[in-house]
C-alpha cells in the first residue's frame, strides 16, 4: 500500500521539474521526420502528363482535364487533396524516374471549402493534325522519342514531333484539307487517323 504512494509522490515531484511533454504547436512549427509521407506534389518540369498516376491511384485522387479549344491545347493534371490517402503509389509508378509527382513533407492540408481542395499543373498537349483529337502530352512524346532512340523513325508521329521540337521542320506547314492523301502519312496523327491514312491511300 505504501510503495505505490511513494512512487506516485516521486513522479509528482519529477513532473514539477520537467518541461511539459507536449510541444507548443501553433507557435512552434512541427517538423515531421524526413520519411514522412505528406501531400504529393507535381513537378511541372519533370511530369510528362502520361496519366500513369491517375491509372494507379487507389483512391481516385488524381484526375485530368484536356482543354483543346484554345490556340495552345493544355492538359490539366488535378490532384485532390481531400481524397488522397498518401500511399505513395503515384510516386512509385511515375515513369519520369519517380520525379514527376513526389510525396512532400507537407502535412497542414486543412481547407475551409472542400471544392478548393485540389492542386493542378498544366502540360502542353499534342493534337492530331487531321482530326484534332488528343494524342499525348508533348513532353510524353518527347520522352518516348528519346527513349526509343533511332527506332522512333518507324513512327512518323514520333519523328515528325521530334523534328518540330528541334526546329528542323517548318511548324506552319499544315494542309488545310482532309484529303487522307499520301502526304498525310508523314504527319503527327492520332491512332485512328494513322490507320485511316494507311488503309485508304495507295
Amino acid at each position: 500500500m505504501k510503495l505505490p504512494k511513494i512512487r506516485e509522490l516521486l513522479e509528482a515531484v519529477k513532473a514539477f521539474t520537467h518541461k511539459p511533454y507536449t510541444s507548443k504547436f501553433p507557435f512552434q512549427p512541427h517538423e515531421p521526420y524526413p520519411s514522412f509521407r505528406g501531400q504529393p506534389e507535381y513537378n511541372v518540369d519533370k511530369c510528362l502528363g502520361c496519366l500513369t498516376c491517375e491509372e494507379i491511384c487507389p483512391a481516385e485522387a488524381i484526375a485530368h482535364q484536356d482543354n483543346t479549344n484554345g490556340s495552345a491545347p493544355k492538359r490539366v493534371m488535378i490532384h485532390y487533396t481531400d481524397t488522397c490517402i498518401f500511399c505513395g503509389c503515384c510516386e512509385e509508378a511515375c515513369i519520369a524516374d519517380h520525379e514527376g509527382i513526389k510525396l512532400s513533407n507537407k502535412w497542414e492540408l486543412a481547407f475551409f471549402e472542400r471544392e478548393k481542395a485540389f492542386e493542378t499543373i498544366e502540360k502542353d498537349l499534342q493534337l492530331c493534325e487531321i482530326c484534332g483529337s488528343v494524342i499525348a502530352c508533348k513532353d510524353h512524346l518527347k520522352w518516348i522519342a528519346e527513349k526509343v532512340g533511332e527506332l522512333s523513325f518507324s513512327s512518323p508521329t514520333l519523328y515528325q514531333f521530334r523534328f518540330k521540337s528541334l526546329g528542323v521542320v517548318d511548324d506552319n506547314i499544315v494542309s488545310a484539307v482532309k484529303d487522307y492523301g499520301r502526304s498525310d502519312r508523314v504527319k503527327i496523327l492520332c491512332a485512328r487517323c494513322r490507320r485511316e491514312t494507311t488503309l485508304t491511300t495507295a
Binding site: 510503495l3 512512487r7 511533454y21 521526420y33 520519411s35 487507389p58 498518401f86 500511399c87 503509389c89 510525396l103
Partner: protein, 394 residues
Amino acid sequence: MQKSVISIGPYHPLQEEPELFMLTVEGETVVDIEVSIGYNHRGIEKLSERCNFDQSTFVIERICGICSTSHPFAYTRAVEDIIPVEVPERARYIRTIIAEGERIHSHLLWYGLAGHFLGYNTVYMWMWKLREEILDVMEILSGNRNNYAMFKPGGVRRDINSDDIPLALKKIDAIIPTLDRLKKAILDDPVLHARLKGIGILTKEEAVDYCALGPTSRASGVARDVRKDAPYGAYDRVDWDMIVTESCDVWGKAVVRLLEMYESIKIVKTCLQNLPGGEIDLNIKSIPPGEGIGAHEAPRGETFHYVRSDGTNRPARHKVRASTFMNLPTLKATVPGSSISDATIILAAIDPCYCCTERMAVRSREGKKLYGGQELIRLSQEKTKKIKREMGIK
C-alpha cells in the same frame, strides 16, 4: 424485482463498429445480455472486389483505424496463398516489425481507455503519451503514424532505410523504462486489483466454446496464437514467448496485454537489429485462378481473410473476418452477474475498437431514466472512488 432493459447501441460508445447490446438489469445487476451485430453495412468487401489486387490493400487497410496492418497482412497472405509464393526474407522482417509496432500502440491505447473508464486518468495520460513515442517510431520506419501503406501482395511497398534504424532503436529503448514504471504502477495498485479481479469471468471451457481469440482467450488459459501455431513472417526466426494467464477475469486480460507489449518490443528490436538484406518485393505480375486464405494475429486476436481469384486482376470474392466478431459473443458469458458499472469495463476488456460516436441511451421500460455513454463512464469511475474510500485511500 422489476427488470428493465438497457440498450447500448446501435452505435456502441466503446467501439468503432455499430452494434447493439441489450442489457437486462435487475436493480444494479445485469442478469442477461443480448448481443446483436451487423447494424452497419460498409461494403468493404464489395469495394475490394472493385479494386485490383494491389489497390485492395489500401481499402482493406481502412477497415480498422487502430489495427490498420492486421487486415492487409492477412489479405496479402491470402493472395500469396493463391499463387502460392514465399515472400523474400527482408520483406518478412519488415512486415513483422510493422505488425508488432502496431500491437504495442494498440495495447497502449487499450490501457489508456481502460484507465479512463476506471477513473484512472493518469494512466490514460501516461499510456497515450507513451503511445506517441511508438507512433513516432512507426512514422520513422513507414512514413506515417497510422495506415502505414507498407503491404502489397508479394512483399512490402517501401524499404526501411538503414539510416533510420538507430534512431528507431533509440526511441524504442527509451520506452522501456517508462513502460516498466507503468507496469509496476498497474500491477501493484491495490485498487485496480480490487476493481478488476474476479469480474467478467470467462472460464477456459467457455473460451474454447465461444472460440475466443487473442488476449481474450490467452487470459483464460487457452494458449492460442497464430504467430506460434502456424508461424509466418519472421515470427519463427525470432525468440519470443506467448503470454498466457489462468486468471480468466478482466485483470488477466490486462496482464496479458501488458506483458505482450514487452514481447512485441523484443520482437521489433531483434528484427531491426537482424534485418537481412536482399529484395523486398517479388513483383508479382499476375494472380492465377484459385482460392487462398490468410490469417494474422492482430492485437485483438486472429484476423482471417479469404480471397478467390478468377484469373483477372481483381479479387472475385473477398471475405473478411475480424477478431472482434469472435470475441463479442463471449460477453454472453462474462457480463451477466456483474453490475452496470462493471459492465462498462467488461465490454471494453475484449478490446473492441473504440467509437467516437457516443449515441448510447439507458432507460427503464417506462422511459424514465436516461443515461448516456458519459454517465456510464461516470458510474464506473464512481465505483473506483467508492472502493478507494472503503480501503481508506484518499
